[in-house]
Symmetry: C2
Subunit: 450 residues, 2 copies
């Protein structure tokens, strides 16, 4: 395929911009520099700005004070690509098969943010007057919790002032099904390590008289849920808003339900909190999930060792009105309360983000729905999503504006998984959607400054 | 130090003879060839013999049909050296510090078997007539369960016929404290894997509706023991012989107790089955121990993944009269019974070995105790040990003879751990012990052939 837009995406995807791994710091900078050059070439005033961590790229269209300003946010950092041996083609050698482009980051979030950049850039580079002022903000720390973004927004509060924010980092309810997501779960991450003997011991020579740290980690994890998956951490559900009947009905009417989620997950049967559909469990109920567990011998065969330590990495997904720091304290207290004797427990809290909820019937929400309908030719679904975009809370608190979440990922794009991909159809629809949404948002009357 | 015996040990320890890792197969053969050459140079008739796996080395002194035959067994294979970063010097670059030689395999079991080879070899090479016929059998699969040894003993039953077997692969009750071990725990290894989604999932997008395999592995491990560490697998203790009062008294009189075990293990407090001392928990009570656990993201930072699978590696330590295959079946049934819904469980049974008990007051036992007393100048301790030497059962069943376990390892030699070491003093004592024990065993009257 010789389409310059696709070639741009291929180039963007070749950067191994893994933000959580420090040895990719130079790749991150190279990727940011590429974005800056691309945006400049399209007619934006673009620059790489320091954040204290991986840099962000900011670009602006020529400014007209009479017009509204739309801030389009995305991220150029990606998840680690492992397990590498499960990729059909290497994660940073993007490959097109059956109309999809396979690469780490293709659907999270490089495909989408580049679609917006090329959509607006196409208008700009052919000399059209944009219906709104557009600011792009593309950061490099979304996958590690955007720790530096709130201070960045504080620092550039005036420079980044806008009327509304647009993000395409959510999933469509079904392939080619336009979707406006109005609620996202928050996140609170922690890691705990259990230490026992001063070094790995022979499990025959010492086993029976020493608490095994791997057993201790397992026992701690087993205390987190009841048999049905309901979280047993004391106080965990105290601030969870009950789901109103109208929302349960709206979620039940989506073109996705238990069976499609079961198929997408690739499991024989679903499992979760009793009394809720899978869409409700994912969109409207909180979780504590084990992202990683490890300790002792990991290799081939047997090693008769009683390991000196073991660990688990957890993330909680939160719904309104749970507060991340409160939840982290509750989980930490729970772990300390249940830690077996004979070992030491160390809990390290990680990144966090508040749950998000915005009104899909506001003027901007209605404009977004018109744009979605124009591109996809059906009424968009209104959806709650299970993932987290912690920075929505920062945008609301610091810039004072709501965010429109316009999905461009299909359900089988495998974000965070091996063989992550993005359909070229979605990429081209994204380019059209970007143009439609700035046109529709330009028709909304300006609100007085706060 | 320029002692040819120490130089021999340094050379022996340089082979990375890790039997469980298939990429070390050539190192195994090189190590066996080195042993064959060393034994031949001392006057033994030595050869490397195929076993179907890693080869064994067999060597014999000149045969006198009027004399008893002593078979001295050892192994040249070693445990994997990881975690590598905890070694002060590289595991296969043996280094002498403060009178100890540091290397993987130094105390398990290269130091001891070489002491025996050099002890008997010294007599032979200076033309002395040995008080017994000596056969050396040095195998390469002890650390992986000696799967090929029983068929090997069957095949060479006549060639390896003997009156008694001597092995130095146990630990002294304290440094320089002569020790005859009369009981060892058996072993039964298994690994289980829990599989859920067809691939790693985004823990936000799917978490709450899908059983997490890492959580399932943890929950399964948590079902294995009660709060005090007593095993909850149904039927697990059915065949465990109660500990008679005289043995509890003998174990209590050893120069090692709870406090010394706590210090050796490097833990703040011991943990184990109520009503038993640490020596009893280790020597006379069975266990189920987690040797390794893993699943999901293992790297730096956070990866918000719901892993497709997770695993645990277990070994049970068994006491008389538990039967390894029966115990494996009980544990497998327990795991299947407790596996949560929504995931698949696969159990793979590994190697096993029966528990061993022999009489320390037999004529050969008394001869061994005289030899130990001669070298160390105090009455030897009689001990139960927690480790396993599965092949003792094969020797008993196939060759029909008992085994004398003469300890040469000190308690802080760190078998199976980083910084494994062997004091040169123990090495030289081992050389003397080998000479003393064949002299004492030569004085025992021959038993009629079975």
């Amino acid at each position: 395929m010789n389409d310059s837009r696709v070639n741009d995406l291929l180039a963007f995807l070749r950067f191994p911009s893994v933000s959580t791994q420090t040895d990719h710091a130079a790749d991150m900078r190279a990727c940011a520099a590429w974005l800056e050059a691309k945006l400049s070439s399209l007619g934006f005033t673009a620059e790489v700005r320091e954040t204290g961590g991986h840099p962000a790229v900011v670009a602006k269209s020529p400014y007209d004070p009479a017009k509204r300003t739309v801030l389009i946010y995305g991220h150029y950092d990606v998840q680690p690509p492992d397990p590498l041996d499960e990729w059909e083609t290497p994660p940073f050698e993007p490959t097109i098969r059956d109309g999809r482009i396979y690469a780490r980051g293709s659907t999270d979030n490089k495909g989408q943010i580049l679609a917006h950049i090329l959509g607006v850039g196409e208008l700009l580079s052919r000399g059209e007057t944009l219906p709104v002022n557009v600011t792009f903000l593309v950061e490099g720390e979304e996958e590690t919790g955007s720790d530096n973004l709130a201070p960045f927004l504080e620092r550039y509060r005036e420079n980044l002032a806008c009327d509304v924010i647009v993000i395409s980092d959510t999933g469509m309810a079904a392939h080619n099904y336009p979707t406006l997501t109005y609620a996202l779960r928050g996140i609170a991450a922690l890691e705990f390590r259990v230490s026992g003997p001063s070094q790995d011991l022979h499990s025959g020579v010492f086993g029976g008289a020493v608490m095994n740290p791997a057993t201790a980690v397992a026992r701690l994890i087993a205390t987190l849920h009841d048999q049905d998956g309901r979280v047993l951490v004391e106080g965990f559900y105290d601030k969870v808003r009950p789901l109103p009947e109208w929302e349960r009905e709206a979620l039940a009417s989506l073109p996705v339900g238990d069976e499609s989620i079961r198929t997408l997950a690739g499991v024989d049967q679903l499992f979760g909190e009793k009394g809720y559909s899978a869409m409700e469990q994912i969109g409207a109920r909180p979780t504590v999930e084990v992202n990683g567990i490890g300790g002792g011998y990991q290799g081939e065969g047997t090693k008769t060792v009683l390991p000196k330590g073991a660990f688990a990495k957890l993330t909680c997904r939160l719904v309104s009105d749970q507060v991340p720091d409160e939840i982290l304290h509750l989980v930490e207290a729970h772990l300390h309360k249940h830690c077996p004797p004979g070992v030491r427990l160390e809990v390290t809290c990680g990144h966090s983000g508040e749950p998000y909820y915005t009104d899909p019937t506001s003027p901007d929400g209605m404009a977004a729905r018109r744009a979605l309908k124009e591109v996809f030719e059906i009424e968009p679904a209104l959806m709650r999503e299970g993932g987290s975009i912690p920075i929505l809370t920062s945008f609301k608190k610091i810039l004072g504006k709501d965010t429109l979440l316009l999905a461009l990922a299909s359900p089988d794009c495998h974000a965070h998984s091996p063989n992550e991909n993005f359909p070229l159809e979605n990429f081209f629809n994204g380019i059209r959607l970007s143009q439609a949404v700035i046109r529709e948002l330009g028709t909304v009357s300006r609100q007085p400054a706060a």
